[in-house]
Amino acid sequence: MLGIPDPQVWLAYLLCILSGLLCVVYGVLNWNRD
């Protein structure tokens, strides 16, 4: 995927982007909580 054959490596590449997105989505959804 994305030119990276080793699933252990493209998974890391993907998880980096997804974890960045997780931070954004969590922050937006909980903007006024707590």
């Binding site: 030119g3 990276i4 252990q8 490596v9 890391a12 590449y13 980096c16 960045g20 969590y26 909980n30």
Partner: protein
Amino acid sequence: MTDYLTFGVVVGAYLLITTALAYMGYLRTKSNRDYLIAGGRAHPYLMALAYGSAFISTAAIVGFGGAAALFGMGILWLTFCNIFIGIFIAFVLYGKRTTLLGKQLDAQTFPELLGKRFDSNFIRRLAGVVITLGMPLYAAAVMIGGARFLETTLNINYTVAVAVFALFVGGYVITGGLKGVFYTDALQGSIMFVGMLTLLVFTYAILGGVTPAHQALTALAAHVPESLAAAGHQGWTAMPAFGSEYWWVLVTTIILGVGVGVLAQPQLVVRFLSVRGPRELNRAVIIGGVFILAMTGVAFVVGALTNVYFYQTTGQISLLASISPATGKPNIDTIIPMYINSALPPWFTSIFMLTLLAAAMSTLSGQFHTIGTALSHDLYQRTGLLVSRLGIVVALIVTVFLAYKLPPGIIAVATALFFAICAATFLPAYTAALFWKKATKPGAIASMVTGLTTSLIMLTFFHAKGATALGISQALFGKPTLAGFPWVVVDPIVVSLPLSALALVVVSYLTQGQEQALPYYDRQKAFAAASD
């Protein structure tokens, strides 16, 4: 290399704006609470950038970027850990409760938080000792990185460069306290963000796009030198062979040691004490996550891809292109600067150099502040602006002394050494302070002492890089390290952190009943204290 005049003007403007921000911090510092935790009312945007920029030093970009050129994209597991553990878990799980418990117990430093939670001045002082003895090593490593960089880019004497760094950064931390640190961090973090994003766009553009760049890197697997292949290297878009030397180094030191070690860094925990409440952290996590992705994510991807650039232009992979003519040995720390100088337009060189300068300064300012407050607030235990400022003066002097005197071998392992010690000493007790009501004072003390001693023993006698640099094992036993493979390349955290956690649980159960007198997190009390 960009011309000195352009870079000189850019740096001059940057230093001027930083000075203005520092002065603003000084004007707004009225009390010791302002000085220690920015008044406990920091804006989420400021706090997130202050957390991220203190987290990422020049070494994270240049040193680990160089490591990515050697190990390849498997190092992106560290970026995932940096974001998921170092930001998401840190802010949402640890951070929110730290903020509230800090308000409830009126704690203004990390050692004070632990000490008050376990009703133990011993814990507070022990944490203060670990910080004042250990963190100057880490700060000296950051300062040397920054000074070496000033030496080569501005062509000034190394001794002068260290003095400039110490006086400038020390000056704004001493006068402005945490507010001065936060305001300047926000500028420095913003510069770093722009610099790294530009670097990513340029790199993919030079190499023809995302997928073609990765395909070209994959194709280089046929050119892995035999010596690297013997250590487990299988190409730059593949993980090292399972169980090989490179696999152990990548998984334990780089991914675990740095990925988990960050949760118990005192200079980062104090950021959680600086905001009004948990709502601010919900907002800050957005900036934090995106910032770290743009820092280590970009540095590691670009670091790995430098192999394609150097292979296309010189016929050599990055490691071989980094061989110094003087010593005949490769130096991975030179790969990123070399790539910037040869692959990117001259105007970008100035921006990137400023990015590295900002990265060093923002990390250093957080370290000075934490060492200084550990001295004045947790060891000497006096409050007042003058005492707090004197604490930072002492921190500055100790760090500068180490920067001039420490041998290069120790500096190279200082950062990993400090991260490992912090994780083993603080993480189980800190976790229990926040989440485990049954933890007792003897349990917390046992955990901290066990974590500290086992990580020091591992570093001194078993872990090859640490033991060789310290030389104590060689002096006592005539052998650089007492362990065999894989223990020589396994990070101490793999052993010392579980032992520290075990000590906490076992001793707490043996002393059950003692926890009832301790203050535990109480949401209502905490919110009441936060709204005062």
